[in-house]
């Protein structure tokens, strides 16, 4: 085993200035690399068919498009939009990642889960002609809630088919596959920074 060789680089004012000049573009490159890695991961998730064979909600494609990143001092902050409901922050991606309970929106008593592909991504209030531009037809659907049951249904009056399941809440189990591993993300940032060095060298940055 050779002895360790340590070379100390003197931080001359010129070297310090050079390092300072490269800090911001390197962080920018890392931030864009992190954003891009996350977006690509979400896009892959979007390629998975809907488990129930329903039309896709494009949830993950939309998450991929909404990822933003920013340099904050020595850190890179990556974010996906979240919303507020009754004073609580509700982050749909984070909810799937860490797990949690989804409650009905304020003013609503139940969550409506579509049971028929024809009503996927449509609210019960949009059914009965509204989604196609007409007025709501009161007689199109009716509520069916078995006595002492924790859940109910919205039924199509014409076909008698149950269109939505109504529940008071639903729980997502934690799913670590929602996010890439921390190691993968670190590698993506490092790879991007290495690539930036080549580009920045080409700009003529030698001290």
């Amino acid at each position: 085993m050779p002895d360790a060789l340590t070379i100390k680089i003197e931080r001359t004012p010129k070297v310090a200035e050079w390092l300072d000049r490269q800090r911001q573009p390197m962080m920018e490159a890392g931030a864009d690399g992190l954003r891009s890695a996350l977006a690509r991961h979400f896009r892959k998730k979007n390629a998975t068919p809907n488990a129930r064979g329903f039309p896709r909600s494009k949830f993950w494609a939309s998450a991929a498009e909404s990822v933003t990143s920013a340099v904050d001092g020595d850190s890179i902050v990556v974010a996906v939009p979240k919303r507020e409901d009754r004073g609580r922050e509700f982050a749909p991606v984070s909810l799937r990642w860490k797990g949690g309970t989804i409650l009905p929106r304020e003013g609503k008593k139940a969550l409506a889960i579509p049971l028929d592909p024809a009503v996927a991504h449509i609210w019960p209030s949009e059914h009965g002609g509204v989604a196609t531009g007409g007025d709501y037809d009161e007689g199109a659907t009716s509520l069916f809630w078995p006595k002492n049951s924790s859940h109910g249904f919205i039924k199509d009056n014409e076909t008698g088919e149950f269109l939505w399941l109504l529940v008071a809440k639903t729980t997502h189990k934690p799913d670590p596959s929602v996010m890439p591993s921390e190691d993968d993300l670190r590698k993506a940032v490092a790879r991007r920074m290495r690539s930036a060095i080549r580009g920045l060298e080409a700009e003529g940055i030698e001290p």
């Binding site: 573009p25 931030a31 939009p81 790879r191 690539s195």
Partner: protein, 390 residues
Amino acid sequence: MTAADKILQKALVGSDLDTAGWSEVQAGLRDRAFFSAKVEEARILAEARRMCAEVADGRMDASEFRRDMRKVLDQTGYQAAGEGIQNLRTKARLDLVLDTQVRQARGWAQWKAATTRGALAAVPAWELVRVREVKVERDWDRRWAAAGGRLFDGRKIALKNDPVWTRISRFGTPYPPFDFNSGMGVDDVDYEEAVELGLIKDGDPPPKMEDKGFNDGLSAKLPEGREKELDPFLRETFGAQVSIDGKNVVHWNEHLIRDMLAGNGQMNASLGQGKRNKAMLDMIPDEAMRTRAAQTGLTISRQWMATHGQKHRNPSGKGSVNMPLEDGDYELIPSLWRKPDGVEVHSENELELWIDTLDGGRLRMGVDLRKGSPTTFFKQNMAAKAPSSA
């Protein structure tokens, strides 16, 4: 600036133009306008713009957007231009409006991050790839080739500053989305790969982007041979928001009203001759007044806005029947002049135009037909009782 800010920065342009008509308008101008085919009503567009920004910010979701937009359409008495996608009440059309606005704004935000000095050094090029499945796939190979794009083993790759990105875009923007429901996006091509492909010579600096801020003035040359046709069309559509110089270059004054409110921009802005505003003229019962209004051009000045704003932004005093004016109310002035909800004749020289706002107010603007300038502008609270005359 966030994706939501990008949406809120757009100027409201109510117009009877259909999609084909809008495609005639230069892409750069379209990118700075918030419009929807065959929607003339500025109040609908103002609410749609606000809500799209909320969705982009994550404060609202698509189903809430559709629900609240339908309420707005009911309140404004919206009449659909046709069935299906031509009807703004349908899920398909509302989703299209939202999807296009939000995806464009998010595409812009990601493009900004991808074109910083550091990001360009690391990743100087993009590959056009499919990022979403769509029902009917367009022929992107042909479109790419027609726009002058090069293929690398069948892959569509170009430097980020290559004009091909703008050329393949229906919206004239160098970032995705490139068309309605296209499902196409971009993937990164790093410096090393760009060198391997011959896009950059090893050791050459990464591409530079033209640093053009969103608020920078925009101009575009009218296509040769079509000047006579497009000049009046653009003036008619955009009013004072465009000016066309002697060299057939269109200059875009996107923040005409907002800039004037902030004390910047033009000293005076002409909102056009009354003769162009058929909807307004039709509401004037008196023939002679109608003729006078048709011959009048309305001009608003920065000075008027400044003095007026001080007085009407915070109407105080007990029993005030007026509501405070906001920037958004001033943005409706061109719509008031073009297409009011009602017109009252006050004297032989003065008309009062009004438009109902969605917050329960009624914007009223008096117009002096001799001077061609506003006399009054305020928002009446329609829920408040009028003060007793006793």
